[in-house]
């Protein structure tokens, strides 16, 4: 890399900045601009409106459920594929990526097909008195599916590169499996792990497609924030929609900042 020297370099840089501004920064700013267009009180009133508040709560709950589960899942998968050589290892690495390669809508529809009343397991579940579709459980399930790869994807290349010598050293010094994990493995992967968890969190909170198919959009019950935003928008409550959206935008900003900080950290 070097500093720009010729006019065409500056032109290119200027263009990149202008496009970023128009397509990325302006919308972000406008969310807050519209949200606050009628002042603080209206904004706050929109946020503490029970349905919106419930949507925020549900979104946070989904994150609280999904982030830990997928963090543990990600560590387990990364551990398995980077430490052991087994039949189906490559297949497993590819399968983890599936949620990234299918549209979230497809994921939602698939879950509907599996667990809905007309679905594959539907009758059995119904007979057992268990309802999954159109409840928070469905939201958790599809969110788990959609965000399953994030942590594993961050960890696998790192753990493969680091190899298992550190862990073997710990074991030969008498550490138990858990001590080795806690004192050696975890510190070695902590930034990548945190990064994966942050991405997972952002996606769980922001997921629209898959959740909209399975949640049933029951106002005040199974509406997460993204669904609430759409609902308010369809009700022509633009300011309310933008107020709800601003909370999501805020989460996105925080995610970006944390991501940036972590990348700086890893770079050192």
């Amino acid at each position: 890399m070097h500093a720009p020297t010729e006019p065409r370099h500056y032109l290119l840089i200027g263009l990149a900045m202008a496009v970023s501004a128009i397509f990325l920064v302006v919308p972000l700013v406008s969310i807050f601009a519209v949200a606050f267009s009628r002042g603080w009180e209206v904004y706050l009133g929109n946020i503490i409106e029970p349905a919106t508040l419930h949507a925020i709560w549900l979104t946070v709950l989904a994150a609280l459920v999904c982030v830990p589960i997928n963090t543990v899942f990600g560590i387990a998968v990364a551990w398995a594929v980077s430490r052991y050589d087994f039949r189906g290892r490559r297949l497993l690495i590819s399968v983890i990526e599936v949620p990234f390669s299918v549209s979230p809508i497809v994921a939602g529809v698939t879950y509907l097909f599996l667990y809905g009343t007309q679905g594959l397991f539907g009758p059995a579940l119904q007979a057992a008195g268990i309802q999954i579709m159109f409840t928070v459980w469905a939201i958790f399930l599809v969110s788990l599916f959609v965000t399953a790869p994030f942590v594993a994807r961050e960890l696998i290349p790192l753990m493969q590169a680091q190899g298992s010598e550190d862990e073997e050293a710990a074991i030969s010094l008498g550490a138990s499996g858990w001590q080795t994990f806690r004192l050696v493995t975890l510190p070695n992967i902590r930034w990548a792990l945190l990064y994966g968890a942050v991405l997972t969190n952002a996606r769980v909170m922001g997921e629209f497609g898959a959740v909209s198919v399975v949640s049933g959009n029951i106002r005040g019950q199974t509406n997460t924030l993204p669904l609430q935003v759409e609902l308010l928008f369809n009700d022509f409550n633009t300011v309310g929609a933008f107020a709800a959206a601003s909370t999501l935008a805020f989460i996105a900003l925080v995610t970006l900042i944390v991501k940036y900080a972590l990348e700086l950290r890893e770079g050192t």
């Binding site: 010598e165 073997e168 710990a170 074991i171 030969s172 010094l173 550490a175 004192l183």
Partner: protein
């Protein structure tokens, strides 16, 4: 602690890395595992440490079967080729690790641990760097931290995988001497892996040479160097010349010269007829081409002075390369020039079956 490796085999996929290997290591020995890269040295070391397990055979520690025992239960100190220091811990915490993870009942007090860690760091000459992180150390320093860390658990056996492999020549030499001294101070059974014969011969009390997963030769350094037991050993030790000869009675025919038994060692089981002779570079004497002692003639193509020795390279009549190593003063009277034809007298020839190994 003594180690007995009994008919141990380890196969990766369908590749046998260690093949039916048996070896006895006595308590307090300083043993070198020597062999070319890929000969199974690391695999054997890892099996002794309990980081890998034999597919068949047994490993006995102090006479007790330890084949299935995990690494943590063997109390064996292992120094990895690339050190494997914990990068997020200071030097002090690295060395303390093995003590810190002990079960509470067995664990020394914090003060005792601290004292022992500092004593070890003192011994490896790194006490002043106790607060540093591994990334802030040189290769030689990391190596010594890894050693101190392995010694902290008062291991019954110390295993080192290519301990000097990644270091530059001067540091290597220092560490070699230092390892020898350490073994005198802390006479724990020590096995170290190397592919550098000089290192093995210099440091160890006994050398085990491995080739393709098997033991090629075992002996004291002097023995191994003085009497290589196979063509592989000649090639591996280097500076040996290979010649095609014909065994005739208890002598050999080289070209049209007969060389009698006095200068020839014939390995057991070599039949009459075509065979391979190995002649080490220092067993070659230069004579005038017409001298009756000349077993062959060759043309000088290269010479290199090294200390008191001169390494000479010749091309023989059939274009084969030939190496000789002679004291420098012997050469001054000869006043050799490049492309000069000289006679070579072979003081000793070691005969093996044709095409063996």
């Amino acid at each position: 602690m003594s180690i007995r490796i009994e008919n141990v085999t380890r196969v990766f996929g369908d590749f046998p890395a260690v093949r039916n290997l048996t070896l006895e290591i006595e308590a307090g020995e300083l043993l070198a595992l020597l062999g070319p890269s890929g000969s199974g040295k690391t695999t054997l070391l890892r099996m002794i440490a309990g980081l890998d397990f034999p597919d068949s055979g047994r490993i006995l520690l102090d006479g007790e079967d330890a084949t299935g025992l995990g690494a943590g239960e063997r109390r064996i100190g292992f120094v990895f080729q690339h050190y494997a220091l914990f990068r997020h811990m200071t030097v002090r915490d690295n060395v303390d690790f093995g003590l810190r993870v002990m079960p509470r009942a067995a664990r020394p007090s914090r003060a005792e641990r601290q004292a022992w860690v500092m004593e070890l760091l003192e011994r490896v000459g790194l006490a002043h760097l106790a607060g540093r992180f591994p990334a802030q150390l040189s290769g030689g320093q990391r190596q010594r931290v890894a050693l101190a860390r392995a010694l902290a658990i008062r291991p019954r056996v110390l295993l080192l995988d290519e301990p000097f492999g990644a270091l530059d020549a001067a540091v290597r030499k220092d560490l070699r001497r230092w390892l020898r001294n350490l073994h005198v101070e802390v006479p724990v059974t020590t096995v170290f892996v190397t592919h550098d014969q000089e290192e093995a011969l210099d440091v160890a009390n006994r050398v085990v040479v491995m080739n393709a997963g098997r033991i090629e030769q075992v002996g004291e350094p002097r023995e191994v160097d003085a009497a290589p037991a196979s063509p592989f050993m000649y090639r591996f030790l280097g500076h040996a010349n290979r010649l095609s000869v014909e065994v005739v009675g208890d002598g050999v025919r080289l070209g049209n010269r007969l060389i009698d038994a006095a200068r020839v060692d014939i390995a057991p089981g070599v039949p009459e007829g075509p065979a391979e002779a190995y002649v080490r570079a220092h067993e070659v004497v230069l004579v005038p081409p017409s001298d009756p002692r000349a077993d062959m003639t060759a043309r000088l193509v290269h010479s290199m002075a090294r200390g008191g020795l001169l390494r000479l390279e010749f091309v023989g009549a059939d274009g084969e390369l030939f190496e000789a190593e002679i004291p420098r003063e012997d050469c001054e009277d000869l006043a050799l020039a490049r492309d000069e034809i000289v006679g070579l007298h072979l003081r000793r020839m070691h005969i093996f079956p044709k095409g063996h190994g």
